[in-house]
């Protein structure tokens, strides 16, 4: 596999909570590079720092130390270098959640187009893009349906469409297949891999699902806040 641009560059990132006897080191000097087209998994037992690392890459959590670059932009170097982190997330990062987290009061199509609305797209263009993504993910026929009436697989595909709506190059997924059966889990992973290749994006997923380990390019193990193996 030919490696593309470095989309995620994490250098010496550490994160601790509390001080003194109550200090907990969630991340200890993490170095990680993820290239365009790569699909990687963050593995490890509960409390190993997977979600903390995902939150740091997603600009949700400020590390205690280290440097973070996303898609070539330095965003953290001891302090946040950008004040508009939400705009940064909107433009560069797509999130896929374990429980899909679709907004229950919006239809499938609106759940996708809301991201584009926030990004400043016109309503018509947003609807067209949402429809295109839903069709691509084979849930276009459910565009006008509210999440409560979607099956688990359909909801997860709508959530993927939402994550991809604004063409982000970094997609962070937290247990993306946890709510799916084995067959659907494989399909979702195939889909993410296809998207990573076609859109030159990288996908970083936290997962415990051993059935899909073979779908990743790299398995990154974390233990006690350190990279155990790569």
């Amino acid at each position: 596999m030919t490696l593309g641009d470095i989309l995620v560059n994490v250098q010496g990132v550490a994160k601790h909570y509390g001080e003194g006897e109550t200090r907990v080191d969630a991340l200890r000097s993490i170095d990680l590079r993820v290239h365009a087209g790569e699909v990687i998994a963050l593995l490890g037992p509960s409390g190993s720092g997977k979600t903390t690392l995902l939150n740091v890459i997603g600009c949700i959590l400020a590390p205690t130390a280290g440097r973070v670059e996303l898609d070539g932009d330095a965003v953290f170097d001891g302090i946040w270098l950008r004040s508009d982190l939400r705009r940064l997330r909107l433009d560069k990062i797509g999130f896929i959640f374990q429980a899909h987290n679709l907004l229950p009061f919006l239809t499938a199509e609106e759940n996708v187009s809301v991201v584009l609305d926030l990004a400043g797209w016109s309503a018509a263009k947003g609807r067209a893009r949402a429809r295109e993504l839903l069709d691509y993910l084979e849930v276009g026929h459910r565009a006008k349906v509210k999440p409560a009436l979607l099956s688990g697989g359909e909801a997860q595909r709508v959530a993927i469409a939402r994550a991809l709506a604004n063409r982000p190059r970094i997609i962070l997924a937290d247990e993306p297949t946890a709510a799916l059966d084995s067959g659907r889990a494989q399909l979702v992973m195939d889909l993410l891999r296809k998207l990573a290749t076609e859109q030159e994006a990288c996908i970083i997923a936290v997962t415990h699902d051993e059935k899909i380990f073979d779908r990743f390019d790299r398995l990154i193990h974390l233990r006690d806040g350190r990279l155990a193996d790569a």
Binding site: I60, Q98, F105, E110, D174
Partner: protein
Amino acid sequence: MNLAIKDIRHGLFRFVLTCFGLGLLMTVVLAMIGIYNGLVADALAVVKAPAADIWVVEAGTQGPFAEASSIPADTRDAVARMPGVAEAGAITYQTIEAAHAGQTLRLYVIGFEPGRPGGPQRIAEGRGLGTSHFELLADRKTGLVLGDTIRLGRNRFSVAGLVEDAMNSVGDPAVYVTLADALTLQTALDPAAARVQVARGDQGIRPATVAAVIARLEPGADVALLTATVRQWKHLAALSQTEQEDLLLASVVDRARRQIGLFLGILLSVSAVVIALIIYTMTMEKLKQIATLKLIGAPDRTIVALIVQQAMLLGASGLGIGLALILLVKDNFPRRVVLEPFNALVLTGIILVVCLVASGLGVRAALKVDPATALGG
């Protein structure tokens, strides 16, 4: 994309139900404001009805509403002759109970001299008093209609005309009769009682007394000078129209007014707390969705708009329902419910502020929510 409207449409039934509940609460608040206004308006109606400038009453009293007052009926002639007085009329007030159509009516009987001050300003239906005796003008709330007859004391009176909004400070509807009939009603004894009085040597000759004499002044006449002049008669006192109104509000209805005012204050406070709780709970229920919105990049203004717009819609709908309901039912209250546009405007302002403050609490909680909440673990 308006997220507030989308969210409301998603849970429309619940939102409508909440608005209806709030609307009922607003109805009670508006009813209480209306009752408060009605109490004041009713109390002032009887004072304002004669459109007088000066009230001449018994010395040492604050009559005829706050205290009983009795002055010779011919005081009217003395007052009418004073420089600056355009016209004067004697007037009496008494409360009686009379049977009509199988019911007992409590009536506020006003005796006045037709053609002189003291009668109603406007006849809503029928005509004024055309004869010296046994006709009356009744407030519509008595339930009497034109042509009805009713026994007052020992005589039967027929309804010649109907008036509106004429009542005393406790809400008893008024009937107007001639002064002569009112004096008879006041002084005539039951035949048996009269016989006993005669047997005891009472000749039954008493000077005619009235409750007050009211005067309207000529343009430019000095009210203060005239009242001061009247007070020089040691058996008389005089009050200006403004003094009479202030006296009535300060003494006769003050306690009831303060009671309702305090209750209104409590009710408004309860409403504010209820509105705040509803809006705060609505926001708390959406925290996970708000966290998701923040995570996918929604700016604070989108989240603030979601909460504030819903709070405002809730407040406006509740107020609208409350206004519609009170306008529908206000005439069924036993006492007058008086609602002025100003009251609705003030309540709108209060609800607006309450909604803003309440949504402020929700906004504060929403802005504090960590977007990582959406990711879980």
